[in-house]
Point group: D2
Chain length 134, copies 4
C-alpha cells in the first residue's frame, strides 16, 4: 500500500471526494511522473534523436504537470473544483498526448512502451476522479 | 529583462502564440510561485496560526501549480491548447482564491499584502495569455 | 515493480553506479516526497497547530529536496559525484531531521508515524547509494 | 525588487543568515532554473541534436536542483547547515558543469550564452551564501 493511500486515511478531509479514487489518482500521477522523467532520459540515449524530440518534449511536460497535480491532490483537505477540475483535465490531455507518442515508439524502444502504460493508467485514474468530483 | 524573455527570442517556436504575452506570463508565474512559497513560510511564523491555515494551504497549491505552469510555458515550442488551456485556467482559479485569502490578511500581515499582489498580477497575465490562445 | 526500476533496465547508463541501489533510492525518494507532502497537509488539520510548525516546515523541505533528487537520480545516464554526492547528503540530512521530528509526534498522530517510516527508509536508501558511489 | 527580497524582510527569521545574501541567492536560483528550463527546450530545437545531448541533460538537472533549492532557501525560517550546506554545494557543482557546457555552445547558440550567464551568476550567489553560513 502506497504512502499516499495510508496517509489519506489518517486525517479528516471535508468535501465528498472519494478517498479510494483520490488515492488511486495520486499513485498513478506519481508513477506517471516517474516514468516520464526516466523515459525522457532514455530517449536522449537513443541514436535516432531527431525522431525522439516530440517524445522528449511531451515527457517533460507530463512530468511537470503530473508532479504538481500529485502534490496538490495528495494534500487534499478541501476540494475546490474550480482548481482541481482544470488541473485534472490538463493531466488527462497531456497523458493522452504523451501516451500516444510513446506508443508510436513502443515497437522500437521498450522504455517508451513502459511509459505509454504509465500514461494510460494515469489518464484513466484522473478521468475516474474527475467523474467523482461534485 | 528576465531570462525567460531573453530566451524566448532565441529560438523558433511554431504556433501563433504571442511572444510578449507568453514571456509576461512566465515571469508572473515564476514571481507568484516565489511569493506564495515565501508567504506560506511567513504565515507559519505568525502567532494566530489557526487563522492562517487556509492561507497556508492555498499558498502551497498556488506554488506548485504556478511552478509547473511556468516550466511548461517557458519551454513552449509548440502550443497544444488542450493542455495549456486547462493548465492556465487552473492557475487563474488558484491565483484568484489565494489572492482573495491573502487580501483578507493584508491589513495585518505585510507578507500577505505582497503575496496578494503577486497573485493578482499572475491571474491577469494568465488571463491575457488565455485570450491570446487560438 | 516500480516504473523507475523497470525503466532503469531499458537503456544503457555509463558509469559504475549499481542499478539496484539506484532504483531503490529513486523509489524511496519518491515515496518519501509523497509521504512528507501528505503529512504536512495532515499536520495542518491538527488542533495543536503551534506544536506542529517545525514538523510542517521540515516536511516541506523534505518534499522539495526528495522530489528534485528523485528526478535527477531517476534520469541518471552519467554519474557526476560532485553533484550527486552533496545532493544525496542533503537528502540524508533532511530525512534524518524530518524523521526525528515526525517520530516525536508518532504517539499522537498516526500520519506522523507513517511519515517517520518513509523518512527512515529514504535515509537508508540514500546512504546505501552514497556508499556505492565511486 | 523581487518578491523574494520583499518577503524576506516581512517576518522574523532566527539564525544569523545574512538577509541580503539569502535574497540574492534565491533570486539567482530562480533565474537560473528559468534559464536552464528554457535552454533545454531551445537545445531540442537545434539541428545538431547529438551535440546538444549533454547540454540538455545538464540543464534538466540544473533546473530541478535550483528550483528545489530556491524553494527551501526562500522559505528559510531557521537555518540547518547540515541540510543547506550540501544543498548549496550541489547547486554550485551543477551550475559550474552546466555553465561550462553552455559556454562551449555559446559561440553557436545565443540561448546557451544567456544560460551560461545565469549559471555563472547562480554559482557566485550560492558560493557567497555558503561562505556566509555559520
Amino acid at each position: 500500500m502506497s504512502y499516499a493511500r495510508q496517509m489519506l486515511d489518517t486525517y479528516t478531509r471535508s468535501g465528498n471526494i472519494d478517498g479510494e479514487l483520490l488515492a488511486a489518482a495520486v499513485d498513478a500521477l506519481s508513477d506517471c511522473a516517474q516514468a516520464c522523467n526516466a523515459d525522457n532520459a532514455a530517449d536522449l540515449s537513443e541514436p535516432n534523436l531527431a525522431d525522439m524530440v516530440t517524445c522528449i518534449r511531451l515527457c517533460l511536460d507530463c512530468t511537470d504537470i503530473c508532479t504538481a497535480t500529485a502534490a496538490v491532490m495528495g494534500r487534499l483537505a478541501r476540494d475546490d473544483p474550480r482548481v482541481t477540475r482544470p488541473l485534472l483535465e490538463a493531466c488527462v490531455a497531456i497523458c493522452r498526448s504523451c501516451g500516444d507518442e510513446c506508443e508510436r515508439h513502443a515497437p522500437h524502444h521498450f522504455h517508451c512502451r513502459i511509459c505509454a502504460e504509465a500514461c494510460r493508467q494515469c489518464e484513466r485514474a484522473c478521468l475516474a476522479l474527475l467523474e467523482g468530483l461534485a
